[in-house]
């Protein structure tokens, strides 16, 4: 049984169809990379998975239960799915440590001391040990993004959704953050992530999904997508983002 399975997912904003008949299944320890041009619906898909949006059709199942049912308590689901946003969204009025302990303490009922231990351990691992007592606005972009990752992981999620978490970072910091994501992937964390970092996707993904105008046009293992894409549109996209590399059809 898949950890997460999506079938026939549809999402519209007004008349505009943003996701159309999207189907996807995520197994334990999978790392799924969503690629596709800007506006293809990557963020929207992640937001639907976390029940931040009401969907217009289709089914989302998580751990064998349909979570797209309106009777499902979204908070229950979100307790087990972590999400990191494109724009960090750290709480500016709390220190990094407080950002990281808020949910474990208030939502999961972990004692404060215990939550702080867990947070400090993760911050340490992510190289943020000495930033714990600072407020987010005083951190660099890369540090903020790593703090956001720690915040999402402090609750021991079974699934992590990452939305272009390196979009706002310079290449050096990109490496820094991706290294951490890679390490988490190797520890067996299940992840769905939207990214524009093709090299990274190729490297860590167990499966790559190419989104085009709200549809998953093509999905498969990274070697296949990056070297032998079936669809012309995928080839076109890859030629654009990987000049002189992929798109060489078999």
């Amino acid at each position: 049984m898949s950890l997460l399975s999506v079938s026939g997912l549809r999402k519209c904003y007004g008349d505009k169809v943003v996701l159309d008949d999207v189907s996807l299944s995520v197994e334990q320890h999978d790392v799924i990379c969503l690629i596709g041009s800007s506006g293809s619906g990557k963020s929207t898909l992640l937001r639907c998975l976390n029940l931040l949006e009401d969907i217009d059709d289709g089914v989302i199942e998580f751990e064998g239960r349909e979570i797209s049912d309106p009777r499902v308590d979204a908070r229950d689901v979100r307790k087990r799915i972590g999400m990191v946003f494109q724009a960090y969204n750290l709480f500016p009025h709390l220190t990094v440590l407080e950002n990281c302990t808020l949910a474990p303490h208030r939502v999961h009922g972990v004692r404060r001391a215990e939550a702080e231990d867990r947070a400090r351990e993760l911050l340490e691992r992510f190289g943020l040990a000495d930033q714990a007592t600072k407020h987010p606005d005083r951190l660099s972009g890369g540090q903020q993004q790593r703090a956001a990752l720690v915040r999402a992981m402090c609750t021991h999620p079974t699934l992590l959704l990452l939305d272009e978490i390196t979009a706002a970072l310079d290449p050096e910091l990109v490496g820094e953050v991706l290294e951490i994501v890679r390490a988490e992937a190797e520890r067996g964390m299940t992840m769905v992530l939207a990214t524009h970092e093709m090299a990274f996707a190729r490297d860590v993904a167990t499966r790559v999904c190419f989104l085009d105008q709200g549809r998953i046009l093509e999905q498969g293992p990274p070697e296949e997508i990056f070297t032998h894409p079936r669809e012309e549109r995928t080839r076109h996209f890859l030629r654009r983002v990987l000049p002189g590399q992929a798109g060489s059809s078999a």
């Binding site: 549809r10 289709g58 797209s68 049912d69 309106p70 009777r71």
Partner: protein, 282 residues
């Protein structure tokens, strides 16, 4: 796509969503009716209710006093509308003085600080007395002597100080990164305030502003102490002749009716702003 039609599953889900909405609606209605029934029963079954009803809620006195209060309330409305315009203008000026940084404007800054500190400390009714009785007594040439004029000025003076602080709070709540990005575009400090910071700050403070204006509507009643024949004055006058408080309740009813449209308008404006700017944004 045009040829899409919802699946069976989606239709069922819509039904469930509808049921959930219906259920919330029913709970809300039932709770409201219940609470108001209980409160109503407790009040009307209290031993003193008949007397209270006679002195405060007599329909006969209400009818008799209604036309006079109706005529007088226009004075309150006029006073409120005039005062509101001047308050908004002077308050934003005071707030801008307070957040200015230029060394040339230091005297203005000090004046603004002292003004808000002093004026906010004086009870509004005292300001009304001071201006409405004191100013005419000075017998200055060219200044009007009417109670209406000076009571309105007193309200403007008093509320400008409050509203200025509300504006300032709004301006200062705008995140520093907005300043930074505007200045990075080459905007001057004044331009940044005018085009970026103030519009955002003002939106944020619409609810507390509304609060102050509702309060202002009610405080137009203070003009009665400057012998302006506004609604409360007229109501009290009637009550003193007939030994009955009902007209005051009628006046209160008028004030409530005045504030409700203002509150709904503000709710609507803020909801629209949020919808436009924050739709799905995270």
């Amino acid at each position: 796509m045009i040829d899409w039609s919802p699946s069976q599953h989606e239709l069922e889900r819509r039904q469930v969503r509808r049921r959930i909405r219906l259920r919330s609606g029913l709970i809300a209605t039932a709770m409201t009716v219940l609470v108001f029934l209980v409160v109503g029963l407790v009040v009307t079954s209290s031993p003193g209710w008949p007397r209270v009803q006679e002195t405060f809620f007599s329909s006969e006195h209400a009818r008799a006093s209604f036309p006079d209060i109706w005529d007088a309330i226009w004075l309150n409305i006029k006073m409120f509308l005039i005062a509101e315009v001047f308050i908004l203008l002077s308050a934003i000026l005071i707030a801008l003085c307070r957040v200015s940084r230029s060394p040339w404007l230091m005297p203005l800054r000090i004046t603004a600080v002292v003004y808000t500190d002093v004026v906010r400390g004086i009870p509004t009714i005292l300001l009304v007395y001071l201006l409405a009785i004191g100013m005419p007594a000075l017998q200055l040439q060219g200044l009007p002597n009417s109670g209406f004029f000076w009571a309105t000025v007193a309200l403007i003076v008093s509320y400008s100080a409050y509203v200025a602080e509300v504006f300032r709070a709004g301006i200062e709540s705008v995140h520093p990164s907005q300043w930074a990005s505007a200045e990075a575009l080459g905007l001057s400090r004044g331009q940044t305030l005018r085009h970026v910071v103030v519009p955002q700050g003002v939106r944020r403070v619409v609810p507390p502003l509304l609060n102050d204006f509702v309060s202002l509507q009610k405080d137009t009643a203070l003009a009665s102490s400057a012998l302006v024949f506004e609604a409360v004055f007229v109501a009290r006058d009637y009550g003193n002749y007939n030994f009955n408080y009902t007209p005051l309740v009628v006046a209160a009813g008028f004030f409530i009716v005045m504030t409700v449209p203002l509150a709904r308008l503000c709710d609507w404006l803020t909801a629209r702003m949020r919808r436009r700017e924050l739709a799905g944004a995270l």
